[in-house]
Amino acid sequence: MSTLPILQINNVRLGYKQGRDFKTVVDDFSMQVPAGEIACLLGPSGCGKTTVLRAIAGFEPVYAGRILLEDQVLSEFDRMVEPEHRRIGMMFQDYALFPHLTVEQNIGFGLRKARPEQRRQRVDELLALVRLSDLRERYPHELSGGQQQRVALIRSLAPAPRLLLLDEAFSNLDTEIRQKLVVEVRSILKQSGISAILVTHNLEEAQAIADHIGTMKDGQLCAWQRRTQADIAA
């Protein structure tokens, strides 16, 4: 059953200015992500998939077309909502955990407007979700790669974003841990009902996590596949 789209990208053009010229990276790109579902953009390095993700997050301007989240226009030509006002979470390839803050402080970072007891409760819940409650006092460098990945995931989930973006979030892990974590992340996202977009160049990873797989090549979306529960389980 397909629900209404939470994210709509309509005929977007992305790129950068090089002197007086404009270099197009992504052109006439459109996609929709239904609420509560996980989409994946798959493609080789340099195909523009990370640029699309960064544009959704608000780090890249849109030169044509528009990006909408829950019918709110986030980006269009010459106009964009600041990243901090989008309520879109992002998980980075290098996790971007703040090295000067403990695990607990990292997770609570996006909850600064919550009351201290509420913040603590939310952090506790999230730590329990990924079974890392014992490591709350540790600093990022004292965690393994898999643990850092989980902390980065729950940090981005903590402020209850409307959409979660994952930028090659599993690429720094070895195969065994990656396979486990992909399944775990899918189940956490489904439990929390958060829509997500994953960017990857790994087909297996995409097949294990996504409800929709979009294939990109040279800045264009060349295929969009809706997957069934049976496909994902297989």
Partner: protein, 554 residues
Amino acid sequence: MTVPVQAALSSTHRWPPSQWVAACLALCVLAPVLVLAALAFSGEFGHWQNLLQHVLPVAVSNTALLLLGVGVLTALIGGGSAWLTSAYLFPTRKLVTWGLLLPLAVPTYIMAFAYLDVLHPLGPVQTLIRDLLGYTSARQFRLPDLRSMPGAIMLLGLVLYPYVYLSVRVMFMTQAASLLEAARTLGCSRREAFWRIIVPLARPAMAVGLSLVLLETLNDIGASEFLGIQTMTISIYTTWITRSNLQGAAQIAIVMLAVVTFLIYMERYARRRQRYAITQRMHPIQPVQLRGLPALVAMLLGWFPIVAGFIIPFWFLVNESFKRLSSLQAISAELLKATWNTLSVSLTATVVTLAFGLVIAWSARYARSGTARLLARCSSLGYAIPGTVLATGLLIPYSWLDRIISSVMNTLAGIPPQLFIMGSAAGIVCAYTLRFMAISVGSVESGLARIPPSLEQASRSLGHSAFQSFVRVHFPLLRPALGAAALLIFVDAMKELSATLLLRPLNFETLSTWLYAEAARGTYDEGAIAALIIVFAGLIPVILLARTQLKANY
């Protein structure tokens, strides 16, 4: 060929020759410190009491004030300009980004030398201000005297801030972007992210830059002398030169070494945190385009340290040199001699330092023992020891060595007794070698770290000995690192003043001591030309640094 097990085992326990060289050099660096400690605590307690009552309170409080002031000023200018050039786009930003490094080419004593004339009550700046305000004489209007603590803080701050700028900017360019973006996806505005992420993250890099600034401030002798600030360095110098009290000088030097130890501890502590602050993906912060008034303000802020820290003193030196040259028609024989002395001493010190650095770094890599690494660290300690302290500590070992060499030469060759080290430039070359060994060891170590062990293994498997492999594989690959180190050592040696002042033989002048003597006499005659030669030499590594460090980060 097979080697008996016993022989193979015993050979692994024997020190290779390179490690012996490293040990000798480490001993040479430690010797002055040990001599100073022995000297400081050997005399009567009364000496200490006198020192504590009359000398140290003024010297320590002046030094502390100077360190504090220069620290705050360089943190503000260096940290602020690093953020300005990383986070904002404004007209001339590229030029500002590398121009901010230029004051590195101006030694502190040349800065003071230039500004004392530029800001003299009868100098160009004050005359212009008086003309604009309608005053006719210096009695009616004059700016506050530069020969004061605020004056010294300002001048030292304006030439030393690039140490902070460089280390903080590299941190911004390599690490800050993804963390800043992560903070913004978690609801922080740019301003909030600056205070909550950028400032705490910049602290380790700031501390590293600041420790270099403070070591340079401690090392300074010329600027403090010209500006009349009685620092600990000046106290050591005057206690020995004016009062011939070596023990008193050693006592002040020991107190100074305690300050240095604290600064090094601070730097190490900061680096320990920096180690885990490195993230894997490196991409610079996306700068914000400024337009209109904000762009103008950013441009003015960016240009201010360049104009005050480089363009004004440089323009003054060029102008003065041109005036001297056109009136004298030729450079004096004394200045030519001082230039020759400077070049020959610096070049010799560069070659010796590089050769030792190569041996020590090689030993540390291949001995694979804690001892070899410890020796490499010990032999690099000289960089942190202020020149005046090192020179004071070397006086006694030098006179011992002179006595030994003299009696040996007398017995063997019948040469009449003379000072072979103290009476020649050899003493200065040795001091430079000890002081700049860290540059050589550090460069070679980082160069070697980039050469994978598999290259040597391949060479050995193709029939080359360890030495042949070094000559044919490592040396060509190390050439860029050695070239960079040679340049830095050469220029640092050319600029060196504090140790040279104490260790030079009679009637032996280098460009820096020539300049010091001119300024001390207040004659300024050819001082500007000497200063200009030093600044031009200093510009070469700064330009190369700007090209290599900043190019990749645009």
